[in-house]
Symmetry: C3
């Protein structure tokens, strides 16, 4: 049994979904592990991870639209406002999605479905430098 | 250390929670792994996974009721509408729940709590053939 | 490759976020595993797990405020009401957050970001005795 761990930086350009499927696939391929489990983990609380459709970009537009309506800026009862109007909504959006996602490996590849992509979901308005950690175990 | 991986098909009958706890338990038992980690993964973006109460079926009714109200069909700002009025709401419901769930194994069994069941949460109106992948590692 | 599993009890004092970061760190340190994966799992369906900011307590206040508004008590269409007005909202809040979180281990420590803490998120009004399971694999 083997394992490997690697850090990746994603430079986000404000709110949006940034696909990291290729980064994940390259990492898995580099380890030559045939069967196992890969875990993607994001070291932040105002961005998150999401597996979503990567075929039609409209899905990403609507995903942003929904989360922006569900957790709008300007909710007047918020008390954590010192880091800007988009900060607490960003923490809430992160809580509603994922910080960590585990994906089985079979035949040397993550078993993502045909239309599944792995995304870093940036919830802050300004660009951020985000740290992603990949861990793999298997053989 | 050993590992195993298996695919399971769940034939859904439209929106609802389809319990796969027995499938998970059978898979774990078949591997004879006593201590480890089992990961359930669904290869789709319009259904998801959920651990929820399996004692009172009313919990499932209300879960459906809540998600149907939180993410209704007919939100007039949606742009991804070509696959039907239930498609984009399905992607959003999947984003709000899980694509992957890891459960520790102890004494040869997944450590699900007394009332916990593992469900495939179908978000589309029509029946679908859904692929679930289970991975286990341990000894 | 080694693994370990441990159970921890968290005595909650009603709705709120109960930090278990130190418990997680102690468990990881006790195993002397340098590189690996730790999984936190909660054996209940009316509380959940969350990774969130542990710097400003206001974030926790607002997190509670948001979930309380998104899933209020007294939704008149609920059918599962026999366990009290806070029970079904608790199940829904658990569905919207996590039952299981996997965190890579590097250099003998969980790779939590600077501001990340691991919390048990209690959704019931009364104090509860909650069971948390930690599993670690690595070497």
């Amino acid at each position: 049994m083997h394992q490997a761990i690697d850090n990746h930086i994603v430079e986000t350009r404000g709110q949006g979904l940034f696909e990291v499927t290729r980064t994940l696939r390259s990492f898995v391929a580099s380890t030559r592990i045939e069967t196992g489990l890969v875990t993607a983990y994001v070291r932040h609380t105002s961005c998150s991870l999401l597996i979503q459709e990567n075929a039609d970009a409209d899905v990403q537009t609507d995903m942003m639209g929904f989360f922006g309506r569900l957790v709008p800026e300007g909710m007047d009862w918020l008390v954590h406002t010192t880091e800007g109007p988009d900060d607490m909504p960003a923490h809430i959006k992160a809580a509603l999605t994922q910080t960590s996602i585990g994906i089985p490996i079979s035949g040397g590849r993550a078993v993502l479905g045909t239309w599944q992509g792995l995304y870093l979901f940036e919830h802050r308005r300004r660009p951020h430098r985000r740290e992603l950690v990949f861990h793999i175990i298997g053989e």
